[in-house]
Symmetry: D2
Subunit: 239 residues, 4 copies
Amino acid sequence: MNFKTKISKIENQDVTIRGEKLSSLVKTGSFTDSIFLLLSGRKPNENESILFEKVLTAVIDHGMGTTSSLSSRFVASGGNSLNVGVGAGVLSIGNYHGGAIENAMKFFYELKDASDEDVKEKVKDMLTKKETLYGFGHKIYKQGDPRVAVIIEEMKTSTFLRFKDLIESTIKETKGKQIPINIDGLIAIILCDFGFDPLLGKGIFIIGRTPGLVAQTYEELKEEKPVRRLAEEDITYIK
Amino acid sequence: MNFKTKISKIENQDVTIRGEKLSSLVKTGSFTDSIFLLLSGRKPNENESILFEKVLTAVIDHGMGTTSSLSSRFVASGGNSLNVGVGAGVLSIGNYHGGAIENAMKFFYELKDASDEDVKEKVKDMLTKKETLYGFGHKIYKQGDPRVAVIIEEMKTSTFLRFKDLIESTIKETKGKQIPINIDGLIAIILCDFGFDPLLGKGIFIIGRTPGLVAQTYEELKEEKPVRRLAEEDITYIK
Amino acid sequence: MNFKTKISKIENQDVTIRGEKLSSLVKTGSFTDSIFLLLSGRKPNENESILFEKVLTAVIDHGMGTTSSLSSRFVASGGNSLNVGVGAGVLSIGNYHGGAIENAMKFFYELKDASDEDVKEKVKDMLTKKETLYGFGHKIYKQGDPRVAVIIEEMKTSTFLRFKDLIESTIKETKGKQIPINIDGLIAIILCDFGFDPLLGKGIFIIGRTPGLVAQTYEELKEEKPVRRLAEEDITYIK
Amino acid sequence: MNFKTKISKIENQDVTIRGEKLSSLVKTGSFTDSIFLLLSGRKPNENESILFEKVLTAVIDHGMGTTSSLSSRFVASGGNSLNVGVGAGVLSIGNYHGGAIENAMKFFYELKDASDEDVKEKVKDMLTKKETLYGFGHKIYKQGDPRVAVIIEEMKTSTFLRFKDLIESTIKETKGKQIPINIDGLIAIILCDFGFDPLLGKGIFIIGRTPGLVAQTYEELKEEKPVRRLAEEDITYIK
């Protein structure tokens, strides 16, 4: 079994992460910049640093009722410690919960060098075939997600932001209604600007959401009675 | 089944977290300050904010060979997606891996109002009985953990830092050798200064380490062949 | 890192489990007897074999509404494969869900050599102190669990069955009402008769329930829309 | 959120599973027959019952060194209880570990009505394109898996067993060497004979292997020191 890595190295009574001493990262003291370095192998520039803080904050928690919050709470309520509840919440972050970032990133990267016209044609074609346009539309934020607006304000330069307007306007033209970009779509644009691998899309969501899962699991353990279960009258038996 | 929460609330096309609008938190743009608010219900002051960045950075990754990194990698190598590997790593953060913070916090809180003499007596008694002093000593950092030093520099005021010197000096007197505080012990002191519940100790470790688990799992998925397993010659069969 | 085991061994193109060739176990062809051997190191006698089949069958599934079924279903609904849903269900089987078997076993083993009078005294004392008598009482089966009756019929000889009558009658005398043994309590008695370690109590429950979790997760993946979440109106926000 | 199920129902102080009372299943007392009913909705016939016992026994454990055993052990060694270790092992049973059954089943079902000649052509084509033939070949059992032989003896009638000889002989003709069916391939044939959905293939493997994961995790908790980790000298740092 091979154990080789380029992430980090323990040597001379310190850890080196992507070429930087961990104690130096602690001294500099930005958790978010350290995450950026750890995942990408390079330090963010000033604007990237500002945007990455916003991206992670934007997904920190989305209420008690999300799939991951409930997964954490149910598993914890069986009589488990905090790490097990949080771990179960992370497990639930699958293709349909946080997975849109990765899919949107793949789509944007594929069309990176396409002309505006080609992008619009592609989107029209997908709309006709009823294929999913990852990163657009939201059940709750019909008028646009307030997190999106405050992040865009800070996007000084962006190669991929053009996809927002191109896709929104094509949807408007084709379907006659406004379906704005959602937070997953905007995060995908930013991570493409950073040059991140799409496979890291879900990872960024997990890092951002883990504090929320800690909070939800902690509340469950402190405030709720154990063994959550459905009442029989809430179950419908079918044949 | 009751579903009640004081963490966060979806209303008026926005999320409110502990009384703050999520879009405002995104605008302000500090991930770490938002974590602090989410977990404690209050915003950190300036020094707390600086220290919390350092605490989370300090545990971001500790090499490929840790229990949680290997748990992530083995589970991922069975043919699973990123979230499953990261979730398995979080699961492994049990009583013996990241658990010292919680235990040290309980100990410090219990002795919060004790006199220096009483603390020294208590520690001597524990050393005699060979009980564990959580948060002191490390297999690798015999001379003291370099992360500890750079964090202490920033600790302007601290109610609980006295436990470091009291316990280190009592160990020196009793056992005749230096066993310095480790990063878990120092984090425990800081979280006690913050007034956090000991049960959140493991949660802070999980939040800090999740980026490392994302990096380790990502590398496993990108670089390694599937299905890690032991060679038969590495296994000893006993009766 | 040591890798030593007495469970099983790959050699000469076959696996040996607790001294038996796996191909021979397959030829003999009893899954349940093989589980018994694997866990205890010895083959069951005829009556033990009959009882162990019943024990595992008794916990195979307990409806859609249990904590473990819901944990499996929520995690699967985030967009995960079957193994992840089933794994999450197993995680949820903590101290309060399936954990009573282990606790009851410890209690019975401790009192193994106590006289009937001493057992009754101990139970009375616990009832007075409102301590939990693991393995007695059930929210649904007020008149006694139908699974209990059909298993007891087959218990030819039992050292530990006396605890059922002793505890039930002491409860009746002390509290004036019938609180019958539940399936966890009876399984604890049987596993004590087998001489199993209490730590295996939860393991037996997990083995028995895993088919139910496979069925529940499979149904979720085949029949339900992804991303289960609470409706906002089902959540109560508190301060 | 809909909660509807056709698996099982709690009513009249008993549980009904697929139309059968759970207490009746316990009285009849076959764990394996009950699993068959729970998953498929029908009881097995006599030969199916015999074969299903063998299938589950065949995968009960495969040594300490498998991906799932190690996943269980690493997670448990972080300081977790039995259910968490076993759950982590189940998580690891992904596409590359136990996943071949599902893939082989899909392949056999697709070719169910194909002529022998068409099957051989298809297999030749796949070999030319170096596509994976799921269910054939094994690193350890070069001469054929001893579990396969003892199961085939009991296969009275089989619609799908013809794929074994057809594929083995086509491989022999095309590549000039013997690559025998493995246990995954034979299980796939049997589950196709049963008429099971391919998605249940991994579920059967999980049910069969869970006892092994309980045994491995139990041994880890009883016999090993906590916090398994790699020694630094076992890690290779690359750039």
